[in-house]
Symmetry: C2
Subunit: 266 residues, 2 copies
DNA sequence: CGACGAGTTGAATGACGTCAAACACAGTGG
DNA sequence: CCACTGTGTTTGACGTCATTCAACTCGTCG
């Protein structure tokens, strides 16, 4: 029916391979190498969380001192909705999916996260339970910052507060954008925006380098709050319009300008 | 057509009266009374923002010292999207609508806020412009906390950081709930949840006291991300099912349990 | 091979938006 | 008192977008 496009199913993205390589890049050295280098790696994690300019070396060291870490195997829960949250939670490395598990046992991804990144920095401050489930998509290094010690830290390192406030503010900003998108954009615009987000920064016009989807399409759909069927139809429609070119899990954006127009229509 | 229900239009809620009375209650004394009592009122404002237990007296005093205030007349903009945000912004009293002005000049309310409450506590920390427009719905007392002095304050009063973090965390929590609702609930469920929220705390089952809508229905609709037409049909449908009883701007919830079921379906 | 899960496709259904008309009320000026 | 106007809401007809349900294909794993 569409001879120019292979509509056949394609193999799933190889999660185990991807997992392994992403861990090679960021996590395992932390566990395997001598302490001095581990500290340098900690610094890189904090940098990912706080951006730059981040907290000073002394403050980061103090943070590292109160941090408790553990690894969570792929597929296991990091924390569950309703569980009391005594700590600020973050993923130092690996991939974690924030979402919720339906009554049928299926996990719905609402926000995929790839370390280093915060998992829940708000529940602990409010003395409330976690509001979502968090499930490791790959083996992940989870860091917990227990609230009490962090508060004590703020007394001794007031400069740290500014960075914690900043990262919370970043989350507010992101959530507000997200809400706005959901309220005012249709599925096509949201998907276009999703694609734009993972376009390498360079590509401003014309065609861009091929892009590889590294999640199941059903998970992409659930981030966009649409059904897998609708996502499939959307991709086919954009493909037919010549905006993107789809082959299984690899997508090439052919017309960045058109995609941007779509993403901003709303 | 519906002899049991008056379906005729009803006069708008009297905004000017409502405005005046809400200001009588919270704002004007601050401007009119001696300094000692003004401080007490400041305390009440901070309490509204931070909850309890809030910051200590010394910290509140320091906050008050760096605060700059101004009043904004009903209908004027408090700040606009894109405007640089050098301060944490809050409404000490009066009603402010957060939203955005469409290209046609119509203002779409996304979140109504009634002082004391934060208007924008995130943009300033990120050195970013405001992400939304804010428009005074009634005459409002606006307080700005310029970022620089607040940061200096954090050095001297580390305990303050905890409360700022907490209020930001509260906003994260609220936004996350909102996002979740938009993603997974249909219009009827969202409206039911909206009604539940403004039900007095006492009413758990059966019928509840009549409720008076004090915004234009089109503004309620835009908070729910639906059109006024859909809201009208929803109210009629709930009325027909006997869950609520509608007469113009006054709504009585007849069956709290059914409403809760609706609100949680999704 | 057969079972299973992921993805795709089509038809039917439903939810919600759009458009246009009518109505209610407030305020205005005769 | 009565038209007249403007804004807000209601209602109906209709269209569009997205979900649902049910097949069907492909690839993997046993």
């Amino acid at each position: 029916m569409q001879p120019l496009l292979s509509t056949t199913a394609h193999p799933l993205p190889d999660r185990s391979t991807r997992t392994a390589s992403s861990e090679q890049a960021s996590v395992p050295p932390l566990l395997a190498r001598p302490v001095a280098q581990a500290a340098a790696l900690h610094a890189r994690i904090w940098h990912g969380l706080f951006g730059s300019p981040g907290p000073g070396a002394a403050e980061l060291l103090a943070l590292s001192a109160v941090a408790r870490q553990r690894t969570v195997l792929a597929g296991r829960m990091v924390f569950e909705r309703g569980e009391p949250a005594g700590s600020l939670m973050l993923a130092a490395g690996g991939d974690v999916a924030l979402g919720w598990r339906g009554s049928d046992g299926v996990f719905h991804v609402e926000r995929p996260v790839s370390g280093p990144a915060w998992l829940d920095q708000s529940a602990a401050w409010l003395n409330q339970p976690h509001a979502m489930d968090a499930r490791a998509a790959s083996e992940a290094l989870i860091v917990e910052l227990p609230l009490e010690p962090v508060q004590a830290l703020l007394e001794r390192h007031p400069g740290l507060a500014r960075h914690l406030l900043k990262s919370l503010a970043r989350e507010v900003h992101g959530l507000a954008m997200n809400t706005h998108e959901l309220m005012h954009k249709d599925a096509a615009a949201r998907f276009a925006a999703w694609l734009m987000q993972r376009l390498p920064a360079g590509a401003e016009t014309g065609a861009a380098a091929p892009l590889r989807l590294c999640e199941r399409k059903r998970d992409i759909a659930s981030q966009l709050a649409i059904t897998p069927e609708t996502l499939s139809r959307l991709m086919r429609s954009l493909n037919r319009q010549g905006v993107i070119s789809v082959a299984g899990y690899s997508v090439q954006v052919l017309d960045v300008a058109a995609l941007r127009r779509l993403a901003e229509s709303g």
